[in-house]
Symmetry: C2
Subunit: 336 residues, 2 copies
DNA sequence: TAAACCTGTGTAAGCGCTTACAAACGCGTT
DNA sequence: AACGCGTTTGTAAGCGCTTACACAGGTTTA
C-alpha cells in the first residue's frame, strides 16, 4: 500500500501539482478556497510529504549526520543527549552511526550519509584519524568532536586532556600521595595518550615530592581497569593513588581493590576521568576529572548549525573550542 | 564547493551517465575499459554517490527510523545498542529521534522520517498511545517496542510486565518480607501500570501471608524514587521490602535508605525492574527483574528487517514477541 | 548469407518534490 | 476601451540517481 503522493492530492483536489505544493507548504500566494480543498484532500488521502524527495529538490535535508565510535554506553549516550537537545533547538534531525573503531565502517557510514545530511558531526579519537579525512566528503560542513582529523573542518571541539592529566597528579599529591600509578587508555586513542602525557609530565615536574610512579595499560573498558589494578596490587611496591584514563576503568579498579580487601581512598586513592553518570553511584563515589560530555555534544552541534547557517557554507574562520576538565572531588580520592 | 555528481564523472570519463552508474555500482555488463575509466574519474573527482537521490530512484533507503521517548539514558541506550547491532547485521542505517513523550513531537519526527526510511521501529509506552497510530504512516512497515499502539503494525515486541510484578512479590515473600511497598512509575506509562497491576494482584493473592502493603507513585526518575522512599519511611508503619517500577527509582530509594541510616536488605529489601547496567554498581548491588533491554532492540529490528524482506511488504501475519522478565538476585533483596 | 543471438552502450523516462517563469484573470486608471 | 497592475494558477525544468528499452556491433547458428 504505497502512500499517497502530491500528485494524488493535486488530482483529488482538482488543482495543479504546483498549487498543491504551495498549499501544503503554507505559501501565501494561494487562494483560500484552493488551500482548504488541498488540505482536505491531503487529509482524506493520509498524505505525508516525502522527505527524501523534498530534500533532493531543495538541496536541504535538515538533518545532520552523527558519527561516533559507538552509539551507546555512558559516555556516548551523554554526547548524544547534548547533540539531540541542540539539534531539536535548531530544528535538525539526526542520522547516527557507529564506526566501531573501524575506519572502513566509518567510510561506509559516511557513504550512506552523503546526500542525506547537511553536515557531519564526527568523533574519531583514534591516533591515526588523519586517514579519516580521506573518507570524508570535502563538500560538507564538518565539525569534529575530540578528534584530530586534520583541517577542512568548519569547526572542532576538543578536551584539554593534557591539562587534565596534570590536574590529576596535582590533586593526588595534594592528598598526600607519593606513589602514583596511571592506568592508561589504549595507545591508539589520542585522548588516552594526552591524558597519559599530562600524567607523566606532572610526575616528572613533581620530582622528589614523589617516591614512585608507574603506568599500566588498559583499553577504557571496565574489565581492563580491573585487571590493571590487579597487576598493580600484585607488584612489590604498591601505589597509594591510581589515576585512570577514564571512569569505567576506575570502576573496574575499585572492584579489584574491594576484591583485594583494600579500601579506597584509605589504602589507595582512585581518580577517574570524564565524570560519566555512573561515577556518582559507585562505592565509594568516584572522584574524577569532569568533562562536560553533554556540552561536547551540544556545542559541537551548535558549531555545525552555525556553519550551516552560513550563506554558501563559507568557512568563516573555523572555530575551535577547547574544553577544560574540572576536578570533581568525591570520596574515592579524599584522604585529608 | 559542491560535490561531484554522477554526470560530472560520466563527462570526465567520456561515457554516458548510464554507463557511469553501472560501473560505479559494479554491474557486470560493463566493459573493463569503461569500468576502470569511470572508477578513475570518480576517484579523481572525489565522487561520493548521493544517497538521497539513489534512495528516491530505487525507492529503497536501507535506513530504518527509530523513534524512542528519549535517545539517551541507561535504558534507551541499551535499546539503541541492540538495534544498532542488528541493523549493521542487516546492512541498515539508523535515523533516530526522540519524542520526549510529546505526541506532537513524535508526529514531527515521523513526518521528517517519511520518505527517508524503509520502516519504523517505535517505542511509545504511553497509555494513550492509541493516538500515536494516527500519526504513523500506513504505508510503512512498523514494529513497536513495549508499546500498545494498535494494530497495523507488522510486528511488536513487548515485555510481560504483569508477570514481572507478580514475580517481584513472590520473591520478596520468599525472603520473609511481610510489609510490601511498591513505588510505581508514572500512571501515564503503560508498562508502569502493568507492573503495578502485577504487584497488586500478587499481593491480593498472598492474602494473610502479608501484614501490610502500600503504593507510592514516582516518575521513573532517580529523584522520584528517593522522595517516594522518604515518604514511605516517614509513615507510621514501615515496609520491610520495596519493589520499584524501574531501576533508577530503586537507586534513588537506596539513597533515601542510606540517608535515613537504614540498610538494605537488612532493614528494607529493595527490588528494581529492568536491570540497566548501573544496577550492578550501586551499593548494595541491586536485585532486579531483568528485561533483556538489549534484546528488545535487537529482536525489534530483526522483526522489522524480516518485514522489509517480504516481497511487497506483505504483512505475513504480524509477529508478536513477548519477553518475560527474569529475576536477578543480587544483594539488595537477599535476606535469607 | 541471412537469421538469430549476445554484449555494451546510450537515450530517456521516471522517483516525489520545489520553483522559476509565463499565462490568465480581475481590477482600477486614464 | 486600452492599459498597467497585482494576484492566482499552471507548465515544465530541474534535484542526482536508476533502469527499461532500443540500438549498434560482433558472434554464432542454420
Amino acid at each position: 500500500m504505497r502512500g499517497a503522493t502530491l500528485k494524488d492530492v493535486a488530482k483529488e483536489a482538482d488543482v495543479s501539482i504546483a498549487s498543491a505544493s504551495r498549499a501544503i507548504n503554507g505559501l501565501d500566494n494561494v487562494a483560500e478556497g484552493v488551500r482548504t480543498r488541498v488540505l482536505e484532500a491531503a487529509a482524506r488521502l493520509h498524505y505525508i510529504p516525502h522527505g527524501g524527495a523534498r530534500a533532493l529538490a531543495m538541496n536541504r535535508t535538515n538533518t545532520i549526520g552523527l558519527l561516533l565510535p559507538d552509539i551507546h554506553g555512558e559516555f556516548f549516550s551523554e554526547i548524544i543527549r547534548g547533540v539531540d537537545v541542540a539539534a531539536r533547538a535548531h530544528g535538525l534531525h539526526l542520522l547516527v552511526s557507529g564506526s566501531h573503531g573501524d575506519i572502513r565502517e566509518a567510510g561506509v557510514a559516511v557513504m550512506a550519509m552523503s546526500g542525506r545530511v547537511d553536515g557531519l558531526l564526527v568523533m574519531s579519537p583514534f591516533v591515526d584519524s588523519q586517514d579519516m579525512g580521506a573518507v570524508l566528503p570535502v563538500s560538507l560542513p564538518l565539525v569534529t568532536i575530540a578528534s584530530r582529523i586534520g583541517d577542512g573542518a568548519s569547526g572542532s571541539i576538543t578536551v584539554d586532556n593534557f591539562a587534565g592529566g596534570r590536574m590529576a597528579v596535582d590533586h593526588l599529591i595534594s592528598q598526600g600521595c607519593t606513589r602514583l600509578a596511571h592506568i592508561s587508555g589504549p595507545a591508539t586513542n589520542h585522548e588516552a595518550r594526552e591524558r597519559q602525557r599530562g600524567f607523566e609530565t606532572a610526575v616528572a615536574e613533581a620530582g622528589a615530592k614523589l617516591a614512585w610512579s608507574a603506568v599500566e595499560t588498559g583499553d577504557f573498558g571496565e574489565d581492563s581497569g580491573f585487571e590493571a589494578m590487579r597487576r598493580l596490587l600484585a607488584a612489590d611496591v604498591r601505589p597509594d593513588a591510581v589515576f585512570t584514563g577514564n571512569d569505567m576503568m576506575a570502576v573496574g579498579a575499585l572492584f579489584a581493590l574491594k576484591e583485594a580487601g583494600l579500601k579506597a581512598p584509605d589504602d589507595v586513592a582512585v581518580l577517574g576521568f570524564d565524570d560519566v553518570p555512573i561515577a556518582r553511584f559507585v562505592q565509594p563515589a568516584l572522584s574524577t576529572l569532569k568533562v562536560g560530555v553533554y556540552e561536547l555534544g551540544r556545542q559541537g552541534l551548535d558549531l555545525l548549525a552555525k556553519a550551516l547557517a552560513q550563506p554558501n557554507g563559507a568557512p568563516s574562520a573555523a572555530q575551535r573550542i577547547i574544553i577544560s576538565p574540572e576536578l570533581v572531588i568525591r570520596e574515592s580520592s579524599k584522604k585529608v
